[in-house]
Amino acid sequence: MSMDRRQFIKIAGMSALFGLGGKGAFEFLRPGALEASEHGHGVEYVPEEPAEVAKRWGMTIDVQKCGEPGVVEKCIKACHSTHNIPDFGDSKNQVKWLWQDDYEHTFAGNENSYMDDRVKELPFLCLCNHCDEPPCVRVCPTKATFRRPDGVVAMDYHRCIGCRFCMAGCPYGSRSFNWFDPRNALNQKEYNLDFPTRMKGVVEKCNFCVERLAQDKLPACVEAAPEALAFGDLADPDSSVRQILRKRSSMRRKLELGTKPSVFYLV
């Protein structure tokens, strides 16, 4: 746990306060409505133990391990089935959260003609870099995309107006717009009822599995391939990612732009 007691009490206290206030307000405005909806759907609120809170979540990707057969595929599959990612079947309208590319394109601008051929052909997993200084957050006119205190760059799909300024601002091509209705392009067999689908006309991207972090679970891709991916608090010197970064040399994409990515490639 990277949280001290004081922090824990603060968060727990605030949550309790808001929880009570929320329910109280609901009771006052629409008496019985909350109970009705709860019983109607058979859902009961169970207070949860607060999950681990980081100062800045980060990820390491071992590119050599990704080169082993099946690793990249299972990461992508885990992500796509967790987040109901639509498949429109063409590159123009494609929605991408986690995908693979080669070194030359992932690290465009840092091409090295004399590089080891083996590295050249290794698959590089691409996702949102959850930058410390995210240009997409800076340009968004509605705060529909925002940086959480734990470093995750998140999206509010209900507030997004679909102006796509964030897509122009992101130097990593990590943002996708729903050019058509994504609900018509879902894989019906692997539909995850626990994660919302999106509507046409809004932007989406990798969310570092915030919904899983809230339940103290690792991101789906990390869980699928723990041998290649690691996830932890970059601010904590003892975290798994920091230990790995101490031992291995790493690269990040387009550092010269000052975005400070949280995704590290181990080579």
């Binding site: 590159s91 340009v139 968004c140 006119p141 509605t142 107006i161 102006c163 130097p171």
Partner: protein, 386 residues
Amino acid sequence: MIEKALKGEPRYFMWLVFLMGIIGVGVGCWFYQLYKGLGITGMGRDISWGVYIAQFTYLVGVAASAVMIVIPLYLHDYKKYGKVVVFGEFLAIAAVTMCMLFIVVDVGQPQRMLNVLLHPTPNSILFYDMIVLCGYLIINIIVGYNCLLADARKLPHPGWVKPFIYLSIPWAVSIHTVTAFLYAGLPGRHLWLTAVMAPRFLASAFASGPALLVLVLLIISRVSKFDPGRDALQTIAKTICYAMIINLFLVGMEIFTAFYSNIPGHMHPLQYLFVGLHGHGKIVAWMWTAAPFAFIGVLLLLIPSARRHHGILAFACASIFLACWIDKGVALVIGGFIPNPFHRIIEYSATFPEIAITLAIWGIGALILTVLHKVAITVREEEAAT
């Protein structure tokens, strides 16, 4: 006063009906776009802004250019602009309206657009853009309408309008500066990441907007009894000429910086636009259409004897209008997205519904301009008759 737009010759009404036809087709296509999604356009994950945002950018410039008539008249007391200034202001109203409509058709969830005001975000340039555009529209409506109303009643212009006129001058500069900042502040888009973006936007705006105004005034002088005045047209022509020279100079700066520094990221978009990159060159023909028109336009406006001939003046203004439109309304936005962040080249071409919607918005602009100018012409004709 606005009732003056209801009386006119048959050709006036035929023109309006023609415009409404174009608008009708586009509105139909827009409903289709709302229903299906923006995927029916040529835009995609790599070229995520296309012809809509490009038209928006170009028309902000046209709107801002009214200031080129306002400054000489109100700051330097150049009285020959007294009769034409309202035509410039009405052109600004039509252009700003078109800008707003291009944003509406471009966003994925237009019904949520007020979120920009509900959740004001001072770090987003788009937030400022919305404010300055709305403000500029209101200022021009106040100034244009009240000055013309006073003219119609043969009264001096009301004194309280003066502050709005002075305010409109920096405001006009602001709308296009803010629009340039939409692009110039984005990391990783090399064509846009340039400090001369705002100056270049202003220069090309002060060339293309007045060029459109001269064309409109030349048409008006043919179809009505209103004479904008030879001197007024000649002075506007000089403004266009100098602004266009500055614009071309700044384009030259961009090309020098990119190619002398030899930095690939800076050269690639310009190479794509002018000569093609890795076998992709959909914009090349556009650029080599724009370039000769730009230089011919400047040359014709530089030569006094050519400029004084109304036919040649019209051709020169049309050339500059077209050259600037290709530069800003086609190349600038698309060039910024090429190559993409992965250094791949994905090209863009507009689809039929996209073009129909674009034409419809130009049609709405033309409709607003026609109606407003009709009112202004009638007032000027009545003035001349008495």
